[in-house]
């Protein structure tokens, strides 16, 4: 894998001084090793007490995973069973009736589609603009670069709760309230990926870029033909984390989407809970449908997720 080495200059730059934007370099290096699963060095003190440590690992994993198991149990149990008398940790019979019921009664398929459409648009738009900005911060010299960089950094600190009322009025004023765009555009307004992008692109060997410049290539060409093809792992991390963030986003879509037909899955889940007699088996069936795509992506691309989590601390 052609992964440019992490630049050594990080601590001297504004990025290096903000831990919120990226993990300390030791951690980041550790993340790579952790993520690539390279064999740990021999003689680590942790080679002892293997049985005890494995036991603790198993217990911890079971405790943490139990709520997810419980989601499955409730989703696949006959209606009302787990809420009856007596402790029961597995369904008496595995049934799909909760799934068919929730799909019949509520536009869950549409909500799923809305989540996909919004997720894809947010991801493509966000990653694209973040990559472009990251390139500018890494390889283009221009007046005001440090200042703009700090400004970008500062925007990461702005919580949605702080500006939601004003953002709601803005979106209404722009006439996009209640459309997909009212979720997509504000969600794409983030500098989240810029710092990872800049950091990664700084690692592209300058000789490559110099050679391309001497050949008369402009920045756009260098970006598209040299830097991007070397940035596969970066793009993977950005795409996965952005998609995850959009898929699970709640506060803003809750405000921006009023029409139940446009709901995303999390808002739909809340809608189900808001019914006069909430059907918890159906809610868990829908929760399974909601989390399944991300769990599948996580299992398939765990390396990139872990790298992204460790370096950026999730969104």
């Amino acid at each position: 894998m052609t992964r440019p080495a992490a630049p050594a200059t990080a601590s001297g730059t504004p990025a290096g001084s903000s831990p919120a934007a990226q993990a300390p370099s030791g951690t980041a290096r550790g993340a790579d090793r952790l993520a690539t699963g390279r064999a740990p060095r021999r003689g680590r003190p942790g080679q002892r007490f293997v049985v005890l440590r494995t036991a603790v690992a198993v217990v911890a994993a079971l405790v943490v995973a139990f709520p997810l198991w419980w989601m499955l149990v409730v989703a696949f149990s006959p209606r009302g069973e787990v809420f009856g008398r007596g402790l029961r940790l597995v369904p008496s019979t595995v049934t799909l009736e909760n799934f068919t019921r929730v799909l019949d009664r509520y536009p869950v398929a549409e909500w799923f589609g809305n989540s996909v459409v919004i997720g894809v648009f947010v991801t493509v738009l966000t990653v694209l603009v973040n990559l472009l900005a990251g390139y500018a911060f890494a390889h283009v010299r221009f007046v005001g670069r440090s200042f703009v960089f700090l400004t970008f950094l500062a925007t990461l600190m702005i919580p949605v709760q702080a500006i939601m009322v004003a953002q709601f009025r803005l979106v209404t004023g722009l006439g996009i309230y209640g459309t997909y765009w009212s979720v997509i555009l504000p969600s794409a307004a983030t500098a989240f990926g810029v710092f990872l992008a800049r950091q990664f692109m700084l690692g592209v060997p300058t000789e490559l870029l110099e050679a391309a410049r001497l050949d008369g290539a402009g920045h756009l060409r260098i970006f598209a033909r040299i830097v991007l093809p070397l940035s596969g792992p970066l793009v993977a991390v950005l795409v996965l984390l952005t998609l995850l963030g959009s898929w699970n986003d709640f506060a803003w879509p809750l405000i921006a989407l009023k029409d139940p037909d446009l709901f995303t899955l999390p808002i739909g889940l809340l809608y189900l809970k808001g019914q006069t007699t909430p059907d918890y088996n159906a809610i868990m069936a829908m929760a399974v449908l909601t989390v399944l795509p991300m769990v599948a992506l996580f299992v398939a691309f765990q390396r990139f997720f872990v790298q992204g989590f460790v370096r950026s601390g999730v969104r």
Partner: protein
């Protein structure tokens, strides 16, 4: 949409960039080359900058303006100066929400970090099936806050939730997870720690990879026991990870919204209300947008203060070490 995102810089940078390479030789062109480089830089930033300014900077300014107004009903907003802020001083629900947010943060953050570090130390090194255990512990990170909260709602249901069934089996009957304010807060805290312990663990695991085993060996030869080695070697060396996590965790806890909103709605009464849910309530449920905006400004200011403080301490530490 994505296409228009690329079109902007393509139009400006294409020709300029191509000529940029050629102008390096003749001297008179040096200034214009630098100018062109500058334009190219701004063009690359352009799309991201436009989005940030439109949907973050403008709303912040909007929130500041709105926080000085009163917007009851559908009439025109009315200037009220600092009245919204003055109102907070005497608003018991605001202070309760503020206090709850602080308590929530102060309790969740150390728990998340201690559990994360403990698990990381235990899981560092080779274990049978370690990939499976690690994956399971990290898995909640990809589960949406709403889905997690919904699972927690079902587990903690007072009448017949699993938690109370289990507690009932060992003789503790009918714990009021929803009707008692303190217990409701406990249930949200437990859920938050459950959600985030995996993140803390993997960041610490990554930090531990940077700790050289030779140090442990040397300390062991000098007769240091496991506890001493943990305190004098492991803890200082995962310092950067601790700091990184502290910032992330405090921000995440201070801005908690999804879990509280779905699990308790801030209730019973205001006993689990936090700043995020209280601002939402005022801005969108009671529809007092001016007051809601003012609450948002307070959240923003506190977040920024914390960020500045941690940034400064980090700076000082960088300089002294």
């Amino acid at each position: 949409m994505s296409r228009s995102g690329t079109a902007a810089p393509a139009a400006t940078t294409g020709p300029a960039g191509r000529r940029g390479g050629a102008t390096t030789a003749p001297r008179p062109g040096l200034r214009s080359a630098r100018l062109r480089e500058g334009l190219v830089g701004w063009a690359f930033l352009g799309p991201n900058l436009v989005l940030l300014v439109t949907f973050l900077v403008v709303p912040i300014l909007g929130a500041l303006v709105l926080s000085l107004q009163q917007t009851r009903g559908f009439g025109d907003p009315e200037w009220v100066g600092l009245q919204n802020y003055a109102r907070m001083v005497t608003d018991a629900a605001f202070w309760q929400s503020f206090g709850n947010t602080v308590v929530f943060t102060v309790v969740t953050v150390p728990l998340e970090m201690a559990l994360g570090l403990g698990l990381a130390v235990l899981l560092d090194g080779v274990l049978p099936g370690q990939r499976v255990w690690r994956t399971l512990i990290v898995l909640p990170l990809v589960i949406s806050g709403v889905a997690s909260a919904m699972i927690a709602v079902i587990l903690f249901t007072e009448a017949n939730g699993l938690v109370n069934q289990v507690l009932g089996a060992v003789g503790v009957g009918g714990v009021p997870w929803q009707s008692d304010g303190t217990l409701a807060m406990v249930s949200v805290i437990v859920t938050m720690v459950w959600l985030r312990v995996g993140l803390n663990m993997i960041v610490y695991l990554a930090g531990l990879q940077g700790v050289s085993p030779e140090l442990h060996e040397a300390a062991e030869l000098d007769g240091a026991n496991a506890a001493q080695r943990f305190r004098s070697i492991t803890l200082p060396l995962v310092g950067p990870s601790t700091f990184f996590l502290l910032v992330l965790n405090v921000i995440a806890s201070f801005q908690v919204f999804d879990l509280v909103f779905v699990m308790t709605g801030g209730g019973p009464g205001y006993s689990t209300s936090v700043l995020g849910t209280y601002a939402y309530r005022n801005g969108f449920e009671i529809r007092e947008q001016g007051y809601g905006a003012a609450l948002g400004v307070v959240i923003l200011v506190v977040t920024l203060l914390f960020t500045v403080v941690q940034w400064r301490t980090n700076r000082t530490r960088d300089l002294t070490e």
